[in-house]
């Protein structure tokens, strides 16, 4: 080994420099223009989406105002009955109850922009989903549904060209801190409830440049942080065009994950939903809740905390997307990513 590390490092860099062919300046400028165009398109699409959401919210409010006397909204939450398994399948809609979920911001999944669904990355990286009604769903290790939370205020992108918005972010870090959850400085995620978060956990989100957001969790004796990046809509489901035109066809019955994990969802005709899974160190666990919101291409389910001081309050979230292929197949987004579920009865 030569004595001069500096010289050797410089030689290595020279070899690398000689091995590359610099792109032309025209190529760099073309790339810059494409980037600028993409950002403008994204900003325009976002503006349109916000207008759509606002319009949809107004439409729903107007519709409810004029049809309240014909609706019988459900009250309370019930566990799905096993007697529904194998019964006549019927499309399931939203329960209409949201007493356990305080409203924040615009209503989610309204009107033609129902696909207000925000995607996260690979299953291993974990999710942070922020819905337009302020609900937050985030991954936690060894928890099948996503952990429930709420966003006090909307996260604004640091990107100056984008308006404040909500979105989904995926964890791109591979550090070992993800199991501790997430926290962000600046924007508190409130009401975070999940068995793996324990008590005394404060989570905040701070937008960084270029669509990134840093999440930090502090609580007990630990402080953990992650960096997540915003990504596009849910993958693996119907395209937006199809999603906008489909009618929600989530059928009541028993749904089994297509993989070897054999996670089970039981959907009741009244919007109740329960799950059983083996996710916590191989131990079986279950939960029950309600379809919180239904929209043309899917539904969101919220599960109550089964025990502890938060018993009965929202604790976990599943995002369910109908596939375009079959009414008997759905994609369920939990902490382990997108999983296909097949209806068995």
């Amino acid at each position: 080994m030569p004595e001069s590390f500096d010289t050797m490092l410089a030689e290595l860099a020279d070899v690398a420099a000689e091995a590359i062919v610099p792109p032309s300046l025209a190529e760099v400028r073309r790339r810059a223009r494409q980037r600028m165009l993409r950002r403008r398109v994204a900003a325009s699409a976002l503006a349109l989406a916000l207008v759509g959401v606002a319009g949809g919210a107004w439409a729903v409010a107007y519709h409810r105002f004029h049809t309240d006397d014909t609706l019988a909204p459900m009250t309370g939450q019930t566990t799905a009955s096993s007697g529904l398994v194998g019964g006549s399948p019927s499309p399931v809609g939203a329960s209409g109850t949201s007493s356990a979920s305080p409203s924040v911001g615009a209503a989610a999944f309204t009107g033609g922009s129902d696909a207000v669904v925000w995607q996260a990355g690979s299953a291993a990286d974990g999710y942070l989903m922020i819905f337009s009604d302020g609900m937050v769903a985030l991954s936690a290790t060894d928890v099948f549904p996503l952990c429930y939370g709420r966003l006090g205020t909307v996260i604004a992108q640091a990107d100056s060209t984008a308006s404040p918005t909500v979105g989904a972010f995926t964890d791109t870090s591979s550090t070992g801190s993800s199991s501790a959850g997430v926290t962000v400085s600046g924007q508190p995620l409130t009401d975070v409830a999940c068995s793996s978060f324990g008590t005394g956990v404060a989570i905040t989100a701070a937008p960084l440049a270029n669509g990134y957001v840093s999440l930090t969790m502090s609580g007990n004796s630990t402080v953990a942080g992650e960096t997540l990046t915003r990504v596009s809509e849910i993958q693996g489901t119907a395209t937006n065009a199809v999603m906008d035109t489909m009618t929600m066809k989530l059928l009541s019955g028993t749904w089994i994950s297509a993989d070897a994990n054999k996670r089970t969802l039981v959907v009741g005709g009244n919007g109740s939903i329960s799950f059983s899974a083996y996710a916590t160190a191989g131990k079986p666990y279950t939960g029950s809740g309600m379809i919180d919101t239904a929209y043309p291409s899917g539904a969101r389910a919220v599960f109550d905390c089964p025990s502890g001081s938060k018993k009965g309050s929202p604790c976990e979230v599943l995002l369910i997307e109908q596939t375009a292929k079959s009414a008997d197949q759905i994609i369920v987004y939990g902490s382990y990513g997108a999983e296909a579920f097949i209806r068995k009865g």
């Binding site: 030569p2 070899v15 190529e27 760099v28 400028r29 790339r31």
Partner: protein, 177 residues
């Protein structure tokens, strides 16, 4: 409107050099090329601002490094398996000493590698590295010292720094580089 002549000169003079620096920091030449190109594209969009910075090259290097690390992280899990199975392809024309150096650099953390490259290749001072990385000077010194200790068994120049620094596991190494 960006000053194109000024930018053109800056690009021509600096592209290869910055790519080689990012390559030394990340170990992936293709990723380094792409991230540096992206950084230059971003610089061109705001050249009027970037040119006024004290050191536009540091701006490019910082943006490219962050882009490279970010893109690398997205693929880290996928690549980890490949790293365990086979070594990454090396540049043609590398001598055995260079290969040894590349191998040695792969055994230190990304932060240590960045600090060492900025100090020994780019020639920055501790204060300049601290400014570029956004870290306290003490942290930079720590990265340099620990990096040298880790390299000591393989780089004789650092032998006096000491040996016996904590060796990282194969899993950690795969995740870092």
């Amino acid at each position: 409107m960006p000053d194109e002549l000024d930018f053109d000169e800056f690009y021509t003079a600096g592209f290869r050099r910055i790519v080689s620096q990012i390559y030394a920091m990340t170990g992936n030449l293709a990723e380094a090329e792409d991230s540096v190109q992206e950084a230059f594209a971003r610089a061109w969009q705001r050249w009027d601002d970037v040119r006024r910075y004290g050191d536009p090259e540091a701006w490019i290097r910082t943006v490219a490094y962050r882009l490279s690390v970010s893109a690398w992280r997205k693929a880290a899990n996928r690549r980890a398996a490949h790293h365990r199975a086979a070594a990454a392809p090396e540049l043609p024309g590398l001598s055995p000493d260079h290969l040894t150096l590349v191998s040695a650099l792969r055994q230190i953390s990304a932060e240590q590698r960045r600090a060492i490259v900025l100090y020994h290749l780019v020639g920055l001072t501790i204060a300049e590295i601290a400014k570029e990385t956004g870290s306290p000077e003490g942290t930079v010194k720590s990265h340099l010292n620990r990096g040298r200790k880790a390299l000591a068994p393989l780089v004789s120049e650092f032998a006096e720094v000491g040996v016996g620094g904590p060796r990282r596991t194969q899993t950690e190494l795969a995740g870092e580089w």
